[in-house]
Amino acid sequence: MSGRDAIFATIRKSLRVTGDDSLRRESVAARLEKHPRGIVPARGQKPEAERTELFRQMVENAKASIVILDSKDDVPAAVAAYLRSKNLPQSIRHGDDERLSLIPWAKERTLEVTKGASDGAQLASVSYSFAGVAESGTLVMLSGADNPTTLNFLPDHHLVVVDERDIAGDYETIWDRLRERLGAKAMPRVVNWITGPSRSGDIEQTHLLGAHGPRSLHVLVVRNS
């Protein structure tokens, strides 16, 4: 018997069931098919303006910084200002996301914009988030050429643009949007939920920022995208 068969045989023997009990099969199939929502905290269930405000608070609670911009056209200046405030070179890297290509980067004449994944040499990156979650101040990032996963983790500073209309109250709404976009069961290689900059509590249980991922996380919410 293979390891697999042995494990299934023991599970079924212990549970005193067989693999072909149709009631059990139906119950499992129904749950996988309907993916019922569990308890969704009331905290995030708010109209858009209040939801954005909650998102802002929760992002700051998670020790990230956040600015709210009126339009996409304001992004280059906000990025340049952030880099300046951190005493960083005016240089930023991003992926193939069309929404990033449409940003008028040329408005900041000293800002160098490069494209592609990170090999660890970049100090700052900018990604476009699939969504934000107000409940916990979380950014939802999808892997792929549009927003390479290495840009989320290797640079010291991660800047993330999120459209206000993509900020949801809860995770469940985001999963439904993803089902709509990719299909019922499909996932990109990686979905990263990011809530604040990297940190560690492993030295005497004191939380220190800047463990292995970005030392700081800066969120740019765009109102009229």
Partner: protein, 474 residues
């Protein structure tokens, strides 16, 4: 292979722990933080208790249908381009991982935190076979340098002080200038970050654990605050997930129920910084990510726990709250428990996985104060399960002769109320002879107790006689 079991020596381990000044300092420092952070996070979420109830019910549903959810999970991992390997025990899991590493000609492995890999003794096994695993979680990295095992589920280096870490770094990082200043925790963190960044970039294979496996999509989920699990899996040629079979959950929504509980209960954050859902290998057009994705599913005795007296233990999501709130853990730390899992959850799980002969001491290491059950996010009745083990240990004559003899003598008296009353009131009088009033600093035949604390001197009467008098007066 698997990690050797040192649990039968709990008593000796505990004594050593109580005498360890470094450990006592580290334990005293950590106790309050965990408790306060959890409390604050829980108070901010009115739905917390309702979530616990629904998480408990959901886990019970999963365990009752475990075979079917595992089938669905396997099918969806394969459909998304990944590979599933089944390991009945630790040796099989280690061999599977070694063969993947060998096929890829891997020499260096970056490892995210995984208690399952501690269970299988994976690091030692890989090293014996010429492969260098580097632990990348900061706490795990520290204890790897020290040649130790984790002493806590989520804070593996809980038992180590800042000064000890500094000494370890100076010993291990010999290429750095010896005069560098490492007084502050931030400089220790910065040094570890720089050292490990090189390891991430050089690793051939990344191995991580999994907090959850999602049947609906075939995804594995890890949570970290550091981002080490993400760098481990993103930069290597292959990502190997090592997990145990009971980690499967039905859907993404169901994962959300547990995620809303996990970080709050463990560390007091609403969510961990990074929650990562990984599904298969690099897709066409992806500029980064691993080229292969493997999941190794370990049973190691869990399937035998289903349907029995200890099934409820399989609800555990490894948050560490039970040990954070345990007076015994606070006194002796995690290593005294002698195997992978410490604290109340370890006291129940260890005998289930390694046998009551080796793990039976642990369920006795409890004051039965019940705080572990109060804070458990999936409401595991840990004290009840520990009592189950104690009964089984007694039935199977596994307790030390002195304990059995003592219980036998007590039972002989307790079954004869008149004799019991006479004997206890005589004992009260004898105790008074030793100490008069106040506290007794020394007692014949009980030096094990009085060596560490005083024994309260009796007030002169037994509880039973006082009860009788007060009842009569009413």
């Amino acid at each position: 292979m698997s990690q050797p079991v040192n649990s039968p020596h709990f008593n000796a381990n505990a004594r050593k722990a109580l005498d360890d000044a470094f450990l006592q300092k580290a334990l005293a420092r950590s106790e309050k933080g965990f408790i306060e952070r959890r409390k604050a996070a829980v108070e901010k979420l009115p739905e917390y208790d309702a979530l616990r109830d629904s998480a408990r019910d959901l886990k019970d549903h999963i365990l009752a249908h475990l075979d079917l959810y595992l089938e669905a999970y396997e099918k969806n991992v394969i459909a998304s381009g990944g590979h599933v390997h089944w390991a009945a025990n630790a040796d099989e899991a280690n061999e599977i991982i070694l063969s993947i590493c060998k096929r890829l000609d891997a020499k260096k492995v970056a490892k995210g935190k995984s208690m399952i890999s501690e269970e299988t003794g994976l690091n030692a096994y890989l090293e014996e076979n010429g492969i260098r695993p580097i632990e990348t979680d900061l706490g795990e990295y520290i204890i790897q340098l020290r040649g130790e095992t984790p002493s806590h589920l989520i804070a593996p280096a809980l038992h180590v002080t800042k000064e000890q870490i500094e000494a370890d770094f100076r010993r291990a990082h010999v290429d750095l200038p010896p005069e560098r200043n490492l007084d502050e925790p931030t400089s220790l963190l910065a040094e570890a970050r720089a050292m490990l960044r090189e390891k991430f970039l050089a690793a051939d294979v990344g191995i991580t654990g999994a907090n959850f496996l999602i049947a609906e999509t075939g995804s594995s989920v890890i949570v970290t605050n550091e981002g080490n699990g993400d760098l481990s899996q993103t930069l290597a040629k292959a990502h190997i997930v090592i997990s145990s079979i009971e980690k499967v959950v039905p859907t993404r929504e169901d994962a959300g129920t547990f995620l809303r509980l996990l970080a709050r209960t463990a560390s007091g954050l609403d969510l961990s910084v990074y929650t990562t859902f990984s599904t298969g290998a690099r897709r066409e057009g992806d500029p980064d990510g691993p080229l292969e994705y493997h999941v190794v599913l370990l049973d190691n005795g869990r399937s035998n726990m289903l349907g029995g007296k200890f099934q409820e233990m399989l609800r555990c999501i490894r948050c560490g709250a039970c040990m954070n709130h345990c007076p015994v853990f606070h006194a002796v730390g995690g290593h005294a428990y002698g195997w992978v899992y410490p604290g109340p959850m370890g006291a129940v799980l260890t005998p289930s996985l390694v046998g009551v002969e080796k793990g039976g001491q642990l369920p006795n290491a409890s004051t039965f104060c019940g705080r572990c059950e109060e804070v458990c996010p999936v409401r595991i009745p840990l004290p009840k399960l520990m009592r189950n083990w104690r009964e089984r240990e007694f039935e199977r004559h596994l307790q030390p002769a002195a304990a059995r003899y003592g219980l036998g003598v007590w039972a002989a008296f307790a079954k004869r109320p008149a004799v019991y009353r006479a004997a206890t009131s005589l004992a009260m009088k004898m105790l008074r002879l030793f100490g008069g009033k106040g506290r007794l600093r020394r007692l014949p035949l009980a030096s094990g107790w009085t060596e560490y604390r005083d024994f309260p001197a009796p007030e002169g009467e037994t509880f039973q006689s006082l009860w009788k008098k007060r009842g009569a007066a009413r």
